[in-house]
């Protein structure tokens, strides 16, 4: 009834190709943005339930936004270009540590030239973006094998990147500014002269990054390059015969994906953790991201958000339910139950909806179109 596109005529190709061709979608999107940018901070400011205290903002929304961003990055590689990667955690780490190095200044003495590469400490925003850029380089480097290795073999091969970077950041003291313990602290979050420290401000930082990158990604996958990626995903040999260069398509996918993942990694380190060690970007993180993408829906930007919400929130929710209901079972049992329930739900979702939440969403939209009079 509400969701009916009758009477909306598209008179130009531009309208037909728009990101949200249906008016209701546009309104919903704007409402969502308004909710995220205005209502949530306002509620948090006024401490109205459920935003009493900082828990929801700090422990749920901020990690959710950052992981959604990372999931968008992974989705570009896995969902759009069909290259399975288990090394996303490593690219997050590359982003985080490079941003840290740029943020604290770089000094590489080149003794044999009698000079040195000196970069003064950069502000936080350029550091984060440069961190993403470094991750993109790493991504391209480890993407080269994808030209020859395919499918699950590639998935396992990307683990080489995961373990290699885990090791590099543990063992090369230069990356941690020779910190004795190997753990590093993020520089102060200073954006354009303002120090962002309260949870609301941090939430804004993440939200802005996510909005910008989600829109960029959405536009990228609708364009020429996105279509090349999808052609490669669906059948790389056929795509090659049609004149798409696999080298270019695959490596750009690796670069763009790793860039976004790297930015997410830098945010995770700077905004969420504040102090971190390589274990924060371990293989578990890679699996978590891959889960988000698959549960959310391969090849869908929306899916990245839905998947991130599901994988992040479900265990936290399950963890708190028995306590809130006053059921006296030990945390040990609860956390094991969380394992079992999460695992079974993942299997269940894969069985009933292998295309993820995003497909569910579009089915819902189809039904809504005809509601309440389906034929």
């Amino acid at each position: 009834m509400l969701y009916r596109e009758a009477g909306q005529f598209k008179t130009t190709y531009a309208q037909d190709m728009a990101m949200f061709p249906i008016r209701q979608d546009r309104i919903a999107f704007i409402l969502l943005l308004a909710l995220a940018f205005l209502v949530v901070p306002l509620l948090a400011k006024l401490q109205i339930w459920p935003f009493g205290g900082e828990y929801l903002l700090r422990a749920i929304l901020i990690p959710f936004l950052i992981l959604s961003l990372a999931a968008i990055g992974v989705n570009i590689l896995v969902g759009y270009c069909g290259q399975i990667s288990l090394g996303s955690g490593a690219f997050m780490a590359v982003g985080a540590y490079s941003a840290y190095k740029f943020g604290t200044g770089i000094n590489i003495p080149l003794a044999w030239l009698g000079t040195a590469i000196v970069i003064p400490p950069l502000p936080v925003l350029p550091s984060i973006l440069l961190g993403g850029l470094m991750a993109a380089f790493a991504g391209v480097l480890f993407g080269v094998p994808s030209l020859r290795i395919k499918g699950l073999y590639l998935a396992v091969a990307t683990l080489a990147a995961q373990f290699f970077f885990d090791w590099v950041f543990l063992r090369v003291p230069w990356f941690t500014n020779y910190s004795s313990s190997g753990s590093v602290n993020a520089p102060a979050l200073n954006f354009f002269g303002l120090t962002m420290n309260s949870p609301i401000e941090r939430y804004f930082i993440c939200l802005s990054f996510v909005t910008v990158f989600a829109l960029l990604a959405k536009n990228l996958v609708r364009g020429n390059i996105g279509r090349q990626w999808m052609a490669i995903r669906d059948m790389d040999i056929a795509a090659e015969l049609m004149g798409i260069r696999p080298l270019y398509a695959k490596l750009t996918a690796f670069a763009v994906s790793s860039f976004i993942v790297g930015v997410a990694g830098a945010l995770w380190a700077f905004v969420y953790l504040g102090s971190w060690e390589p274990l924060a970007f371990s293989i578990d993180r890679s699996f978590q991201l891959l889960f988000m993408v698959i549960i959310g829906g391969l090849g869908s930007i929306l899916g990245a958000f839905l998947g991130a919400a599901f994988i992040l929130v479900l265990p936290i929710l399950l963890d708190q339910v028995p306590h809130a209901l006053g059921i006296p079972i030990s945390v040990e049992t609860v956390s094991l139950l969380v394992f079992i329930i999460t695992g079974s739900l993942i299997c269940y979702l894969l069985i009933v909806e292998p295309h993820g939440f995003a497909r569910l969403w579009s089915t819902a939209k189809e039904k809504l179109r005809l509601w309440p009079y389906p034929y």
Binding site: V78, P145, R148, L241, V338, L350, P354
Partner: protein
């Protein structure tokens, strides 16, 4: 002479500990061969089998049973647990997922991993349970030629022997028995196998059961080495480079891949490690595997991948 002795010692130690990885990798290969499922849950299955075995063993020994009888009963019980797990996995997860693509199946096995990890710790406990089935001390060979001799761990030798027996048994099972032949038929072509009357769900149950039993064997060796506890699931990750070097579909490949990875990473750690900081063996195996893949994208012994449009 000392240097050569050391080299020999590390080489032997590496080769043997590589065979221990192969024990875990074998389970992967079996399932991939028969159903195209990349079974990430193999590590969790080792944990489940080990916990079932060691807890029964402890229980029975505490009740005054002689050790050998307790071991037999424990193995029988653990095998039964693995059979139940195989049945449940086939019936409720992989059966409904038939004909999905490899990535979905792979993800579902990670879901299974979570369930197995949670359930096995919930039922059997989350502590570290020591298991002592094999001797853990070492032989010192050629003490006349090399000062201090060449150390060979008895447990590793046991592991090697067991792996040898296991591979022979599997080869006989695949080549000589009716179920084994049916299994190979299913591996070649699901639909064709089904149309000549091979019950696919039964075959898959058998495959998961066999993989479960392989996990049980791996658990006896690894449990003796590390104690049975949660970290045993990390073995799945150590088995992956073995798997890619050998190829996902080759049983002997799993053994040879294990030998290459084991020797390669131990030698690298000892000879290359100190100059670049140590702790390199975790990624070295993967990089070695990556290098092999660049030359042969299907692994050393994998079936050739033929692509058609």
């Amino acid at each position: 002479m000392i240097a050569f002795g050391q080299f020999l010692e590390i080489l032997i130690g590496g080769l043997l500990s590589g065979v221990l990885y192969s024990l875990v990798a074998l389970g992967f290969v079996l399932i991939f061969k028969a159903s195209g499922v990349f079974n990430f849950a193999q590590g969790a299955m080792v944990l489940l089998a080990g916990l079932a075995l060691v807890r029964t063993l402890d229980f029975l020994v505490a009740r005054g049973l002689p050790f050998w009888a307790a071991v037999i009963l424990g193995v029988v019980f653990a095998a039964a647990v693995m059979a139940i797990a195989a049945f449940v996995i086939e019936r409720y997860v992989l059966g409904p997922l038939v004909n999905q693509d490899g990535l979905t199946l792979f993800m579902s096995t990670i879901g299974i991993t979570f369930v197995l990890e949670g359930a096995s710790q919930m039922i059997f406990g989350a502590d570290n349970y020591p298991l002592r089935l094999f001797p853990t001390d070492a032989w010192f060979l050629f003490e006349n030629q090399f000062p201090g001799g060449i150390l060979v761990s008895k447990l590793d030798v046991w592991g090697g022997l067991i792996a040898g027996v296991l591979v022979t048994a599997l080869a006989i099972f695949f080549q000589r028995t009716k179920t084994g032949r049916a299994l190979r038929a299913v591996a070649d072509d699901h639909t064709a196998a089904q149309s000549v009357g091979i019950p696919i769900s039964w075959i898959w149950f058998v495959v998961w059961l066999v993989a479960g039993l392989v996990a049980l064997v791996a658990a006896t060796v690894w449990g003796t080495k590390l104690g049975v506890q949660f970290s045993i699931t990390f073995l799945a990750l150590k088995a992956l480079p073995v798997l890619i070097i050998g190829g996902f579909t080759s049983v002997p490949g799993a053994i040879i891949g294990g030998l290459i990875i084991g020797a390669g990473e131990k030698l690298a750690e000892v000879y290359l490690g100190p100059s670049i900081g140590g702790g390199i063996e975790y990624w070295f195996g993967f990089v070695l595997a990556l290098a092999v893949l660049m030359v042969r994208p299907q692994g050393l012994f994998g079936e050739r991948i033929i692509e058609r449009i």
